[in-house]
């Protein structure tokens, strides 16, 4: 009886030993168009890019290297009762290794945006395909303190910066930086240094982490991080370098409009190593395609100042500013 049992199991197992399935995770490909246009308030130079999706049949996107940008499209932006036509152009970019690449984009250099205005874009491709999007530039915000903030503060170890909520659908990108110069053999070079959010150690090497865009209405900088940033200025520098640090720090807050905020949020996901997700939600406000049409406005808060004794304690010169 036992023999019969084991024999039947053995036969069953042999019968069931399977071949590998011919499984492909790829579905049928339909070309899609991707428009990216982020308007800004800093300059009158506004850009847009237009490209198509592509299919390689593999998991390696580089298996089919070709220029995916789309030329000869008609791109128009509506802003404050005016229509701005974007021109098709290209630039050649060269990287540090002297590799050059061509970058195609569209631009218009006639306008910059202000707070709380409607904006609209329409793209007509050569093949008649039309992409459209609407947005509203961000609402203004105000910093909650107008008085000077001394670094280091009189008490405590933290620098807090608060701002009001311009629009509860906004993300904010904070950046805090200061200016400094290095003088070597009478040659002076000017720099800007951005203060990170914190430092972390990755595989034994230190890495600065900068604050990401988020909907938080404040940011806190730790004096230890500021001190480390200042210390790093002279790291690996020759002994004869003279470093001068300027009195003022500049806090730039980029205020993202609602659509750009959603896009920023959707591209900054983080997952734990154990959770396995098989789908991903993707944000776009482009009707008929993919990508993003949005805007941001930078606002500067310049009430932060280094104290001279603090800068001098690092062995640097202190440069007063009016």
């Amino acid at each position: 009886m036992k023999k019969r049992f084991f024999a039947s199991i053995l036969v069953l197992s042999i019968l069931l030993i399977s071949c590998e399935d011919n499984f492909s995770p790829f579905g049928s490909y339909n070309e899609k168009y991707v428009l990216t246009c982020i308007l800004n308030s800093d300059t009158t130079f506004q850009t847009a890019t237009l490209s198509s999706s592509y299919f390689t049949g593999t998991f390696n996107p580089d298996d089919k290297v070709e220029d995916r940008s789309i030329k000869f499209a008609d791109i128009r932006v509506w802003y404050e009762d005016s229509v701005y036509l974007f021109k098709d152009t290209m630039v050649v970019e060269t990287d540090a290794l002297n590799n050059s690449s061509v970058k195609n984009f569209y631009f218009n250099d006639r306008f910059k945006i202000a707070f709380n205005k409607p904006i609209e874009i329409e793209v007509l491709l050569e093949n008649g395909k039309r992409l459209k999007a609407k947005s509203q530039t961000p609402k203004d915000i105000a910093f909650k303190s107008n008085s000077s903030v001394l670094i280091p503060p009189v008490s405590g170890n933290l620098i807090n910066i608060f701002w009001t909520n311009g629009n509860n659908s906004s993300f904010y990108q904070p950046k805090l930086f200061f200016k400094y110069s290095k003088k070597v053999n009478d040659v002076v070079t000017f720099y800007e240094a951005e203060i990170p959010y914190y430092f972390t150690s990755i595989n034994g090497s230190e890495k600065a982490v900068y604050p990401p865009a988020s909907n938080k209405l404040s940011i806190v900088y730790n004096m230890d991080v500021i001190a480390k940033t200042l210390n790093n200025l002279s790291k690996d520098e020759p002994e004869n370098v003279t470093i001068s640090v300027y009195e003022k720090l500049y806090f730039t807050l980029s205020i993202l409009d609602q659509n750009l905020s959603r896009y920023a949020s959707s591209t900054s996901k983080s997952f734990n190593a154990l959770t396995v997700r098989v789908n991903e939600n993707e944000y776009t406000n482009i009707e008929g395609g993919l990508g993003i049409f949005g805007s941001y406005i930078n606002k500067i808060y310049d009430r932060l100042r280094f104290q001279s004794t603090y800068i001098e304690s690092f062995g640097y010169n202190y440069v007063f500013q009016n």
Binding site: M1, F5, L12, S13, I14, L16, S18, D21, F23, P25, F26, S28, E31, V34, N40, D42, Q46, T49, S51, S53, Y54, T56, F59, P61, R68, Q173, F177, E192, A193, E194, T200, S201, Y210, P211, S214, N215, S254, L256, Y263, S265, S266, T267, S268, K269, S270, N272, A273, L274, T275, V276, R277, V278, N279, E280, N281, E282, Y283, L290, G291, Y296
Partner: protein, 743 residues
């Protein structure tokens, strides 16, 4: 409120006064127990040979046979899987309730055969559509994998499925996993899984009986809309002290039981000791999983104290830690803490009542430490008082009713995948009544008609919500029965579980927020039961389930003022077939289901991740004699849905590095996905083999099991890495073993 209370009580009293007075025929009642341990035996058949009638003991081992012609003696047979069939003679007096407790002698460990007398006659008008009763003896026969697991065993039933070998989470007839109620000794368990859902927290050695309702459950069960898993634990040995210890590749466990004056106690504990075998489940990842569970039960009954009453105190604790040696890595921790008291009263007239008081708490934490992970803190505290009463009439009809008062304190702080924080706290109470009438007076027809009424709800939109339910069985000819059920089901607590996750650490619970209505489903089921011979039977069932206001995690919550859950819909339907063939020395159970399930969100219809068109299981048990038992299970499922890849595009990423602005970010290739879950993975199939040897060595009973999982090493695809295309498979060929020693 007062009126609500008065009406059901009045109805109950009137019905009692009509029927509970003694009639001419007599009744036979008793408790079926194991002669060696005194443990009650659920679902045991008690059969009167002369009358060709009988009864099955309920989940607490109590049997009752009504309407027995009196003034004469009867030969009664009691039979149960793994026990010697017991015959006795009893004299039935007119109009009286004869108490006869039955003690069944376990078969010697070498000679355990499967035997159950009279099952087809006893269950002829039982309203049991969608109900599976599993005794621990049956559970032990299935191939164990790494551990015997009650929830994994459910996945062999038609209509129940999982998303893979990795998870013991189950999905019933197209419902989500949080729509399954798991009840341990009458107390809800909120997170019944260890180790990323790999195993259930209920240690099989403590289980006495399992009832599993796949749908159509009657009005005594509320709170969930898809299924109910009702587990009762053992009481502990009433006659002598005993110790049972066992070890597997994953855990070491022990159980101590013994008598106390007037009762018994049982203490059990299980602790993980190695993670090596888990690597096989987790694509060779070393995950520092550490878990334990322990339970304690104390029972007391004395004729001098409330007569025929039994008091039980039960506690259950389980905990999981997942802490890496690197302090900057994330850590996970989740616990269930349960304590409950039960007073079971059997009255001289055939009335049973049960009073339960319980507290069930779940707490789960994800601490990011130095990682960029999002924190999660979830606490749920459920305090319940319930009272149930069952009355059995002389004409075999039954009436049951009850009240449940529940308070839930839920706290959840989490950040979604987009980094948006939610802080959801709610304390709410629910008062619900149920009442039902079981119409069993005709041998060929049985009906269960009842309703639950939620007087106050946890969700502020619940209001006064009735949940009427009906099920019936009509035996057309002695070998063929038609069964059907329908009902409305309501659920007010859900998990905030991302349905795109096929492995999640744990699923946090919340009360459905007031901007959504409670989940409500309408369930229909119908089936045929066909007894082809004494050895062969077949059941076919069809079901349809429609879910309105199905809360689905809002994947588009970009800002904290946006809702965490959005309203979706669900629909599922299907057919299930189960064929059982039982002839000594083997048992064959085969099942097949053809099913469809859909979800709808924002007007888009899609298949949920657990939707499989065809599933089949083939279970073969073979008693080889001399204490050897062999088993084989072959499982098949057509491919699960997945979202296909349809290309790439160069996606623009904002950068926060120094000097960068939003219009000079970077473009990186990004995978373009097709329509949600429109693709299908290849078919899944797997053969598991098990061989068990039971023997007695000196004073100890020993059991050694060897199990071969995925015997022909089928490469069942679990998922593929979207970035690299790497195919991650489910369990490979795996040999496991367990050793159990009982003193």
């Amino acid at each position: 409120m007062k009126q609500t209370l008065i009406i059901p009580i009045t109805v109950l009293v009137l019905l009692l006064s009509i029927n509970i007075f003694p009639q001419e025929p007599g009744r036979l009642r008793g408790i079926v127990t194991d002669s060696t341990s005194g443990e009650t035996l659920a679902f045991c058949n008690v059969f009167i040979n002369e009358l060709n009638t009988g009864s099955s003991s309920n989940e607490r081992g109590i049997y009752l046979i009504n309407s027995i012609p009196s003034d004469r003696e009867y030969q009664v047979t009691a039979s149960y899987v793994g026990y010697s069939t017991h015959q006795f003679t009893v004299f039935i007096k007119p109009g009286q309730l004869t108490q006869f407790d039955i003690k069944l002698v376990p078969l010697s460990i070498e000679l355990q055969t499967v035997e159950k007398v009279g099952a087809k006659v006893i269950e002829k008008n039982t309203t049991d559509l969608g109900l599976e009763r599993i005794s621990i003896k049956q559970l032990e026969i299935l191939p164990k994998g790494v551990e015997t697991d009650v929830m994994r065993s459910l996945q062999f039933l038609p209509g129940v499925r999982s998303t893979g070998d990795v998870s013991a989470r189950y999905y019933v007839r197209g419902g989500t996993s949080d729509q399954n109620l798991v009840v341990l000794n009458g107390i809800n368990i909120y997170n019944p899984f260890h180790s990323l859902g790999l195993f259930s927290v209920i240690e099989p050695d403590i289980i006495n009986s399992v009832e599993f309702f796949k749908g159509g459950f009657s009005s005594e069960y509320g709170e969930r809309i898809s299924s109910v898993l009702n587990v009762l634990t053992k009481d502990g040995n009433k006659n002598s002290f005993g110790f049972k210890g066992s070890t597997s590749l994953l855990t070491v466990k022990g159980m101590l039981e013994g008598p106390i004056p007037g009762g018994s106690f049982l203490v059990s504990g299980r602790k993980s000791h190695s993670n090596n075998v888990l690597k096989k489940f987790l694509n060779d990842q070393t995950v520092p999983i550490d878990f334990y569970d322990m339970s304690f039960k104390l029972n007391y009954s004395s004729k001098d104290f409330f007569g025929n009453a039994k008091f039980s105190l039960f506690t259950f604790l389980s905990g999981d830690d997942l802490v890496y040696e690197d302090p900057t890595r994330e850590s996970f921790k989740w616990d269930n803490n349960i304590v409950g008291f039960e007073w079971l009263q059997i009255y001289d007239v055939p009335i049973f009542s049960r009073l339960g008081v319980s507290l069930s708490q779940f707490e789960g934490n994800i601490d990011p430490n130095g990682s960029n992970l999002k924190p999660v803190r979830n606490q749920i505290s459920d305090f319940s008082i319930s009272f149930d009463i069952n009355v059995f009439f002389a004409n075999k009809d039954e009436i049951a009713g009850g009240i449940k008062i529940k308070t839930i304190d839920s706290k959840l702080f989490y950040e979604n995948q987009l980094g948006v924080a939610s802080d959801l706290n709610k304390f709410a109470g629910n008062v619900s009544f149920y009442g039902k009438y079981k119409f069993l007076r005709y041998d060929n027809f049985g009906a269960d008609i009842g309703t639950r009424i939620n007087v106050t709800g946890l969700n502020s939109n619940s209001g006064f919500s009735p949940e009427p339910r009906l099920s019936f069985t009509y035996r057309i000819i002695p070998t063929l029965a038609l069964k059907a059920s329908c009902g409305i089901y309501l659920q007010e607590l859900v998990t905030v579980s991302d349905e795109n996750e096929i492995i999640s650490v744990f699923e946090p619970w919340i009360i459905i927020p007031s901007y959504l209505e409670p989940t409500k489903s309408l369930n229909y089921g119908a089936g045929l039961e066909w007894i082809l011979s004494t050895a062969l039977s077949a059941e076919i069932e069809a079901y349809y389930k429609k879910i309105n206001s199905l809360p689905i995690v809002n994947e588009k919550k970009y800002f904290d003022y946006e809702p965490d859950l959005v309203k979706g819909k669900g629909e599922s339907y299907g057919y299930e077939l189960m064929i059982k063939y039982s002839r000594d020395p083997f048992n064959i159970t085969s099942s097949y289901s053809l099913s469809w399930s859909y979800k709808e969100l924002d007007g888009l219809l899609y298949y949920p991740k657990y939707d499989a068109r065809h599933t089949a299981n083939f279970l073969f048990e073979f008693n080889l004699g001399a204490g050897w038992i062999g088993s084989a299970v072959w499982s098949f499922s057509s491919g699960l849905p997945f979202t296909e890849l349809v290309g790439f595009y160069d996606k623009y990423y904002l950068v926060s590095e120094p000097g960068a602005q939003f219009n000079n970010g970077v473009y990186n290739p990004y995978l373009l996905l097709g329509d949600r879950n429109l693709g299908r993975l290849p078919e899944y199939h797997r053969l598991d083999l098990g061989i068990t040897k039971r023997l007695k060595l000196f004073f100890a009973n020993m059991e050694m099991s060897l199990n071969l999982i995925n015997a022909y090493d089928r490469k069942n695809i679990f998922y593929f890495e979207r970035d690299t295309g790497e195919q991650i498979n489910m369990l490979p060929l795996l040999l496991t073993g367990t050793l159990k020693v009982e003193l």
